[in-house]
Amino acid sequence: MLSRRIIPCLDVRDGRVVKGMRFRDHVDMGNIEELALRYRDAGADELVFYDITASPEGRSVARDWVERVARLIDIPFCVAGGIRSVEDARAVLRAGADKISINTPALERPALVSELADALGVQCVVVGIDSVRDDDGQWRVRSHTGNANAMRAPGRRTLDWLVEAQRLGAGEIVLNCMGSDGVRGGYDLEQLQAVRPLCAVPLVASGGAGAMAHFADAFIEADVDAALAAGVFHSGAIAIPQLKQYLRGQAIEVRP
């Protein structure tokens, strides 16, 4: 039976893993390879590395650390940040990443999703969606979210973009609910439940994990395929082996 996946997300800056508000008060969390191995050993099912300075600096992902991680670990990992073309994506995959994730560049030029899917296969094309509930009650996407000062609201409804991204060739969707992100009050179940029936490809919940029960809620109530989190794992508030044991106790299929 297919397991539900637990995915730690690691923000990378200048070749180091950092945490904190993006672009403010970064705390150095350590060496990329060390953390990748630590999470692998703890039972992470997959890792996401987000090159947080690539996009704002107008460059693609630094490939040297992608290669170092790929040499080291034997679980899949996805790389995000600054991928704007098939060539960018190909270079990251050649360095050893298993998937690439695109967000702002896909909103700016949706055809990019199709180009990537045609050239590399849908299975390695992840579309990340940053979503906010606006005052009128509609969920809409945000772009350029890597930098609070540069963030934009293109006006697109989250549900519309989700459907279009799949039509274009997204093989997986990461829905980052910005309203719950960093607050640790739980995943945005209402939004995930609204998205789920429209998402035929695997859906990854992101934003809001603060307790083990939040993961169970996302799997049981919103039927997501994977749950992504950063802070709770980095701080040690939740240890992955205990989390998996807990989820197993809730009759949720997870990999030992």
């Binding site: 692998r40 034997d74 590399l120």
Partner: protein, 200 residues
Amino acid sequence: MTDVAVIDAGGANFGSVCYALERHGARPRIVRDADGLADAPRVLLPGVGAAGPAMTLLRERGFAEVLPALRKPLLGICLGMQLLFDSSEEGDVACLGLLPGRVRKLVGGPALRVPHIGWNTLEQVAASPLAEGIGSGEHAYFVHGYAAPVTGDCVAACTHGQRFAAVVARGRIAGAQFHPERSSVSGARLLRNFLQWKPS
């Protein structure tokens, strides 16, 4: 240390396969045309991408002609395994024809997402030195939208809505639908088994 010829079939991710081979003490060598296969004792056909373009490339570079006549252990991974079969529904193309059967699209459903992405359990179907130490219930990492049928060549199966071949072996031809390079313990086992495999 054993050399492994890793065929460049246009997929972009053979980096991770090569690193995994290195972790197991093998020496991978990327080959771009059939001549490169001559002095390698083992051959690996990785593949991420679509069956059509991959087959076109294999034909252009002479692999489609040479691989069936080769007398060396050959392991196809993911799309590389699918290409070993007669044909694929993906792009409706003829494949290498080393294993009988047609690769078909996985059928999705309300609680059944396609592509099939993630860790799923293996089910042992037949004994094979290739799958030694990989028992039923072990997890492997899958990423695919098409799958090969369970035939007499199936060593291990997996189920995602339907049952499909996860590991196949016939003579010197072997394949894994999952990604051994990203499947932790079970993947390491399969790669080590392949590196020591002496098909009769």
